[in-house]
């Protein structure tokens, strides 16, 4: 059997083994920086860069530049090479300033797009802050024919809280004056407290997403890698062999950590 047909036939096994190696190799950093992690890190850099270069050619340069230029004969596109290569002037002492031309051009683009980004981010947020502070009934007929929903007392109270929080946090972000006035200092302090409330909430919220990723990785090891034929796992069940290997590694790490104290420099 030739090598290529062997690879094609065993691609799934190879895929699983490579995936398991990558997973365990990177997790080894939880013990400490080590040669296996360093190997995985460099392989990661290698494949990521290789993929990025191929991706740039396959999806950007070939379709938008090379194909129209060479296959459709749009010769003027060759001029794009000029600004593209200007970046490389950074390596030269004499021509180095020309890299600033193209860098400046792109800074300008970023700044020019800034106006649209500013409006699209800010405007809806301003409009959504127009919240009534006391209850009213629903209105069907308005000058723009859009109905206005009714506002209940609890909603009005929530709107009031919303305004207070908004103003307190904004107070914290004024830079032009020392916050000496008691009212200002108080508002800015409350602003910090509600910010902490918000940050704590974001922290807790993110927890499930990250744990789900870890659980899914474990599923990959226990079920998908565990389904390799020579592990003899009953179908649809997790692999005890893999679990044993994992726990063995965990114990090894704990014992090593106990005697080596890897955190001490």
């Amino acid at each position: 059997m030739s090598l290529s047909s062997w690879i094609v036939q065993n691609q799934n096994t190879l895929y699983l083994l490579v995936g398991a190696f990558a997973t365990l190799g990177l997790y080894s950093v939880l013990y400490r920086e080590n040669r296996l992690y360093r190997l995985c890190e460099h392989i990661f850099l290698g494949v990521a860069t290789g993929y990025a270069v191929a991706f740039t050619w396959n999806n950007v340069l070939e379709p938008y530049w090379f194909q129209p230029m060479w296959d459709k004969g749009e010769w003027w596109l060759a001029v794009l090479l000029f600004p593209g290569l200007l970046y490389y002037c950074v390596f030269s002492k004499t021509y180095n300033w020309m890299a600033r031309l193209i860098i400046g051009f792109y800074m300008g683009i970023a700044a020019g797009q800034g106006f649209q980004a500013f409006v699209n981010d800010l405007w809806p947020q301003i409009a959504q802050s127009f919240r009534p502070l006391w209850p009213h009934a629903a209105y069907a007929a308005t000058p723009t024919h859009k109905a206005v929903p009714a506002v209940t007392l609890p909603q009005a109270f929530a709107n009031f809280l919303f305004l207070v929080i908004l103003l307190c946090v904004l107070t914290y972000f004024f830079f032009a004056f020392e916050q000496k006035n008691r009212a200002v200092r108080g508002a800015s302090q409350v602003g910090r407290w509600v910010m902490m409330l918000s940050f704590g909430a974001i922290f807790g919220l993110t927890m499930m997403a990250r744990l789900a990723l870890l659980i899914d990785r474990m599923y990959f090891l226990l079920f998908e890698v565990g389904a390799l034929p020579w592990l003899h796992t009953p179908s649809g069940r997790p692999s005890w062999v893999i679990f044993g290997i994992l726990m063995g590694l965990v114990v090894l790490v704990l014992v090593l950590a106990h005697f080596n104290k890897p955190d001490r420099v």
Binding site: T49, W57, W65, E74, G104, I109, G112
Partner: protein, 265 residues
């Protein structure tokens, strides 16, 4: 790339095409040398002008009035060119991938040549780079069973696994960060801790079960939602107001060449 096809005509003979492209490149070289003739003190102003030009396109495209109806509804004179402009600027940025590769190669070739202790890892970098790069190009241009298998092993098995593992590593770090940082040290830290705990309890079945006999507003999942939809929104909005204005100011300074400090002087 319909931007210039009105002025130029494609060439279909390959020899002629090569000549045309060579001509364009020669013109670029001349332009390059002419640019170098710009006296040093004037260069700063040229760079500023180019920056301004880069921003002008998107700023005008956004601010110029648009047609209200007809075949060009929601368009102004510049709108039809945005796609071409976007593709061109993407292609130009595409050329810069080489900058990163050169930098990586400098570092790792250096290590290989010096045979430093890390040479082995640099070798791993080069091998994985080459493998992924060649397989991606091959699989894109001439896919067959072997290229598909290799792509499956390298992309899905190696790169995706490395990505997913690194991402899931955050689960460990979020746990140790929470354990270390969430202590009742100050009022601010306490607020952070309490909201994080409430939100975490509110998103697991056990947490919702603990309080499911309480009246609705006191159930932990409802408190969680109140924090996340009311308090959190107000805080994030207040922060966004400041951030958006800050970004607008920075855009203006860069676009109009007012920015001071490193690099800009």
């Amino acid at each position: 790339m319909g931007l210039w096809s009105g002025f130029f005509h494609p060439v279909h003979s390959k020899t002629l095409l090569a000549l045309y492209i060579a001509g364009v490149l020669f013109a670029c070289l001349v332009l390059f040398l002419v640019l170098q003739l710009i006296p040093v003190p004037a260069r700063r102003h040229v760079i500023r002008f180019v920056t301004f030009l880069g921003g002008l396109f998107y700023a005008l495209e956004f601010f110029l009035p648009v047609a209200k109806s007809g075949p060009h509804a929601d368009q102004n004179v510049l709108t039809p060119y945005t796609t071409a402009f976007g593709n061109i600027s993407q292609a130009i940025v595409g050329f810069t991938i080489g900058l990163g590769v050169i930098n990586l190669f400098q570092v790792h070739l250096g290590r290989l040549v010096k045979r430093s202790s890390d040479a082995m890892f640099s070798l791993a970098f080069f091998l994985s780079f080459l493998a992924m790069f060649l397989v991606s190009l091959w699989h894109h241009s001439h896919p067959n069973a072997l290229s598909r298998a290799l792509n499956h092993i390298l992309f899905d098995g190696l790169l995706q696994s490395l990505d997913a593992t690194m991402f899931s590593l955050i689960a460990f770090y979020i746990a140790s960060a929470a354990y270390r940082a969430f202590r009742v040290r100050s009022l601010e830290a306490t607020i952070l801790l309490v909201t994080a705990l409430v939100v975490m309890l509110g998103q697991i079945p056990v947490g919702t079960y603990l309080t499911h006999t309480f009246p609705a507003p006191l159930r932990v999942e409802n408190i969680r939602n109140w924090i996340l939809t009311q308090a959190n929104v107000a805080v994030i909005r207040a922060i966004a107001f400041g951030l958006d204005i800050g970004a607008l100011a920075m855009s203006l300074r860069i676009w109009l060449g007012l920015e001071r400090g490193n690099y800009f002087d």
